[in-house]
Amino acid sequence: MIKELKPLSSLAALLGLLTASGLVLAVYYNPWHAFASLGFIEREVNEGWLVQAYHATGTTLLFGLAYLFLFRAMLARGYRAPDDLAWALGVKLLAVLLLAGWLGFVLTGGAAAYWALVRAANGALALSGAAGAIGMWFFGGPAGEGTLARLALFHAVLGVAALAVLAAAYRRLKPKMSPGVCLDHLARFAVLALIFSVLAFFFPHLGQPAVNALPGDPLTLPLGTALPWYLLPLAGIADALPGAWGGIIGVVGAVAVLAALPWLDGSGPEAVRSRWYGVLTWVWGLDVIALGITATARDCPQASLLLALFALWYFFHFLVLVPLVTAMEAK
């Protein structure tokens, strides 16, 4: 059980940092002048630039660790019993983080954030029936300054939700403390803090679209998909499918197949590592990276074709290859 606990302590430390820095940012954030208030935090608030860099870098590291841990669990088939609940909580945490991460990016009020919000709000409001009603409730109408005020609240609520999911995982895994575990935690904390310092102090804008340094403006249109790196694979899947419904189904489906992995794996609990499953999972990992890279390279004429291929492979892997390979191996 200690093995599963290691990622949890790093994730908990980073979520704690994000909560603390987010509280400071929330004090000075003004949704009606979002971009200007971020400039105010960076220039006028005492050490505000530091808090902002912590928040941005904490997000980058949190997503990096969450993706790595989920991928490692996939490779080691850690999603099967008895760890199936830990896997379910992990996917749930990723879903909450993705939504909170998107909201946090939109709150910056830069040019890329402005257009991400306008596109999402217009898409959601164009839907009919219950989906449109949910979109109306979420965005409160076409994108405007008031939208950011309610999204700031949702961002904070989702942050608390992520903490709650982590707390549930802790309760499930019941950590034991011993000198060995403490030393282990200390080593992890030190290495994490080292990576964090390098990113926060020398690459504070790592993975952020450069166009977001411009204030949000109807006349400043980013070329292609301009989103932070941790949203790019999902954005690639959403872009590959046509229309607002295509985007929604793509994003929800991409997370849902991850959650469904314990049932898609047809092998019994006694099966150990399979070579083919490992190879396929690595190919899938490369496919996710390729999705993210292609999503930003929209000026390449073949981009939409490649995007469709990569998105197809993403679902093909979970819905066809994984059941097939694991069922063959169970024979």
Partner: protein, 234 residues
Amino acid sequence: MMRRFFAPLLALGLVLAGNAQAQDTLSPLHFQSDGPLGGIDKAAAQRGFLVYQTVCAACHAASALHYRDLEALGLTSDQAAGVAAGVKLADGSAATLDSPFKAPAMPASAFGGAVPPDLSSIAAQRPGGAQYIYALLTGYTTAPDGVTMLPGHFYNKAFPGGQVAMPPVLRDNAVTYADGTPATQSQEAADVAEFLTWAADPNLGTRHQIGLRAVIFFTLLSIVAIAARRGGGG
């Protein structure tokens, strides 16, 4: 049109009088703010502020900056106040330490339809930052054959598309540097690029300084912690 007047010159003369002449940063072109451990060259940024104030500020605002922020470049509070006192606001009164670097309120038609962008964060907003600003300010040439110029535009090899609505404003001796640095066009362009780099990221030097200490500390802590785990925890 020329709203700023020359009291800033006097104030800056006080600041820079003791400083040595600038090092040659033009051949090859480099900035002290470049690189992972770079910091702002305060003397260059002060000279760049002089260029901004006497040339750029006639059209461009930098409204995220206040006159008190100049203290971070080495001016005393009195000197910054002296700079502000030389600036006339729209109602005729003098600027204060808390006044932002405003542009004159002129319609877009006064600029041939192209509104001059706010320069507060321009070094962060344009790919290439200081290098791009330098290249743009020194990039005016005659248009190559076969290029039809838009009305009111100037050919600039650094500008995307080659045609920019901003006229070539920097020329030799557009300002007089109190520290004796020759005010060539390239020197002015390099100095204002350093100033705008500071304006876009005022904490650049501090960030790198804290970062270096943090990296050294956590490297040592990592070594100790990993060694302790090997030895103690098995």
